[in-house]
Subunit: 485 residues, 2 copies
């Protein structure tokens, strides 16, 4: 473990934590963060610190950091701005090596806050203490059951790490991942990044065995050169996906007053990201869509995609998305076409996308295998997997829309498992979408469980599936050809 | 009612319908469409026609159209290709004036099918019968409880009409609308548009009192000139939103084999849409997002938007989306700022977006009212409405994530009703988003019920809310200044 990485270890594997500024007022963040941490069942020691209280949520309260019976690995700081410097000094005196400053009102509000922020960082650095924040909403490490944030979110363990300069974007992305059955490794709301910057967290995640994919939300960079140097190294090992905000004058102004970020010119930023093979996305949903695709898919060997669709329109939309992303919706050779003829009705259109033309008996997996065997295809997008065949043939026994959706999800699960077998056998990626907007809680839970079990995300629109597939191709090209690809 | 419109009336308000090609085999569409129609509780007479069967789903079966005891308003045709011309002739002999041809395998599969399609249309037109399709998945009119499609979808009555050259896109868009609590007026899967074209349906919807907004999916146009003429007229009365597919060479090829559409040059098409004030969107989700915004919002008088956000990052993302769409994230005057100072903590950033800086006590509606009163703002986007205040202050009584989400939805409902009062009082649009990705079935049902009650869509991301708001501005500008706006 490098020295730089070791310094961050107390943030992500703390054995004990002090909440400085804990409160017994349910209307204060000092109460809420403590409650979230307790509800997350952190197995280590939790120390509540407040000069004027005795007990909070059943915990004994210490009146100062100095009074703590041991030196905690980490201090989470929520005190008013005016007490910050004193608290940092107290932490240093106690020998605490890492802090998370949730308190806001620093550089993002103007000159006075900026000065305070500088003083705080200088003090911490002199004493050898690293700081996350200020103006952040917390951090989480699922593998340590350390759920320490302003939001009552308890994601499962998983392989996606989230670094975000906005706490509420971090929360939204986490929630979106959870609702799809995806787990999280680390959650870092980096706030104003007064001390630790995004590049420090990237260095930590580079060597973090729990993290396979890094999702990031960035408003601005303080040390662009070092960021690019680190990012170029990290993307050779794991993909970095980035939602960059503040790419318009109005957004830039908003970013400055949000996290004091200088977001700079978007075109320069785009060129730099390309060099570092960072994959840019344009919304929070896309961040999760694109991140999830890396969890279990083999990387494609080229940019030629086959599309299988249960409905023509979905196929056209997916072909557009693939073509716009520079993929080739590859023509099929006569040998492949004749193989497909065996499984499709005479009026099928003999083109890629392969439209199953609403043929109720068609077996998706025979068709998938033909495409995976074909030399002209590097991977497949399947749209509307399994919604059709066995569900429709049992339609008369189905009494309600809920029954229908549940039967479709069941059917989908079986088909998906077969798809995964074929995918893993042929070592070509297969991205699937099913159309199930009407599913209730039970259907959503089943789909999420299926994703957890298979680590294979099920997309719900042709747009999502094709865009996720395109991201996979882009990253594979980078690993093969470097950033000039 | 114009003659053209009158000809389509049997399609949308049928009192009786014949299903020609009904089947008692649950693996055939002739069974499924009939089952869907029955399950939809169509109040009119349903006649099943099949030359070789006696009873299907409890209905007496007629061996031919000629045998029917009356002339139905409409024939829905699912017979094999080889019988099509005979069936059309039978319908004409019986005096049937309208047909929906679900059967596929016509122009989309090549020259022979194309010839058959031409012959079918010539025959029908000579006899004065209008045809929807072929190669479509059905039509619906919620106000007639006429749910006649291949998909078991039963949307509620509402003001969104869907015209789609793809049946499965029509189904997906309908499902998406339903899951958000939005109702549908008419559902038209127009297929190959051999006889009736999209412009005929637009003319019908122009005068249709049940339809306020038209959502369309288009792969190509057969009579571009007439389409533009009709669209220009319709958009003066109600907005037309369009997802145009096949705008890449790969997509164009896919569209040709899907519905035989010639999608043409995308740049010419874009220019024409702009002239006709058609609002282009780029995914099925956006179609529903943008359509829903017209249901209850007053149109803004200008392009100056105020953004209120519970979290900085959401505000930055929304500002970017607004700015890219040409809106002005308007600077706030000193008077407005001083008014806002009354309701926000001293460290608030005094900028638009107005960031509530995680202040738990802040009252969104006071702040909203200040912006609505301000002369420098034409409308407002609120992000994270009501998730914070009362929910967080009751946090200790909340035992699970489900409880939390339900409390937040409850809270949101109250806030939304107050927002609507203010919106309607000041006659400025207010588009809201809340972040509730973890809601289960109960939360989703409550949100959908709230949308039904208020006809106000609740978006779930800053991107969606800002993009929907921008669409509202664009349409308002068109109505004021024409297509040069």
């Amino acid at each position: 473990m490098s020295q730089a990485v070791g310094r961050l270890e107390p943030l992500f594997s703390p054995r004990s934590v002090a909440l400085v500024g804990a409160s017994n007022d349910p209307g204060k963040w000092g109460f809420i963060v403590l409650l979230n941490l307790i509800n997350g069942r952190f197995p280590g020691k939790i120390y509540a610190v407040n000069p004027r209280q005795k007990e909070i949520l059943g915990l004994q309260v210490y009146h100062s950091v100095a009074e703590l019976p041991e030196t905690p690995d980490l201090a989470v700081i929520l005190v008013p701005l005016s007490s910050i410097l004193q608290v940092i000094q107290d932490c240093l005196d106690k020998g605490i090596k890492a802090g998370v400053v949730i308190t806001a009102g620093f550089a993002e509000v103007g000159d006075r806050g900026q000065q305070m922020e500088r003083d705080m960082v200088r003090l911490a650095r002199q004493g050898g203490m690293v700081l996350v924040g200020p103006n952040c909403n917390g951090i989480m490490s699922t593998y340590s059951r350390f759920y320490c944030s302003m939001l009552p979110l308890y994601p499962r363990r998983g392989s996606l790490a989230i670094i975000s300069q906005s706490g509420n974007v971090a929360g939204s992305v986490t929630g979106e991942a959870m609702s799809r059955g995806l787990g999280i490794s680390r959650y870092i709301s980096s706030g104003n990044e007064a001390d630790l910057h995004i590049e420090d967290f990237l260095e930590y995640l580079e060597q973090d065995e729990q993290t396979k994919v890094i999702l990031s939300y960035v408003e601005g960079l303080q040390d662009g050169r070092r960021f690019l140097e680190v990012a170029r190294r990290v993307t050779k090992k794991k993909p970095i996906l980035m939602l960059k905000a503040g790419d318009t004058p109005a957004g830039t102004r908003a970013a400055r007053s949000h996290t004091a970020a200088l977001s700079g010119s978007d075109s320069i930023f785009s060129a730099a990201c390309k060099q570092a093979a960072i994959i840019r996305v344009h919304s929070m949903d896309e961040l999760v869509d694109a991140g999830g695709v890396f969890l279990s898919q083999p990387l494609p060997k080229g940019n030629r995609v086959g599309i299988i669709t249960r409905g023509g329109g979905w196929g056209v939309l997916a072909a557009d998305v693939c073509a716009r992303a520079g993929l080739e919706v590859a023509p099929l050779g006569e040998k492949t076409l004749s193989e497909l003829d065996k499984y499709l009705p005479p009026w099928w259109t003999r083109h890629n996308p392969v439209d199953l033309v609403a043929a109720l008996g068609a077996n998706d997996n025979n068709i998938l295998e033909v495409l995976l065997c074909s030399a002209e295809i590097d991977g497949v997008v399947i749209l509307g997997l399994a919604t059709g065949a066995s569900v429709f043939s049992n339609l008369s026994s189905i009494k309600s829309m809920d029954d229908f959706v549940l039967a479709a999800v069941e059917d989908f699960g079986q088909s998906l498992r077969e798809v995964i077998k074929l995918r893993d056998h042929y070592q070509k990626p297969v991205v699937v979408a099913m159309n199930m907007p009407l599913g209730g809680e039970e259907a959503a839970a089943k789909l999420a469980a299926l994703t957890r079990e298979t680590q294979t995300v099920c997309y719900t629109t042709p747009h999502q599936a094709a865009a996720a597939y395109a991201v996979l191709v882009r990253y594979a090209q980078y690993l093969r050809y470097g950033s000039d690809a």
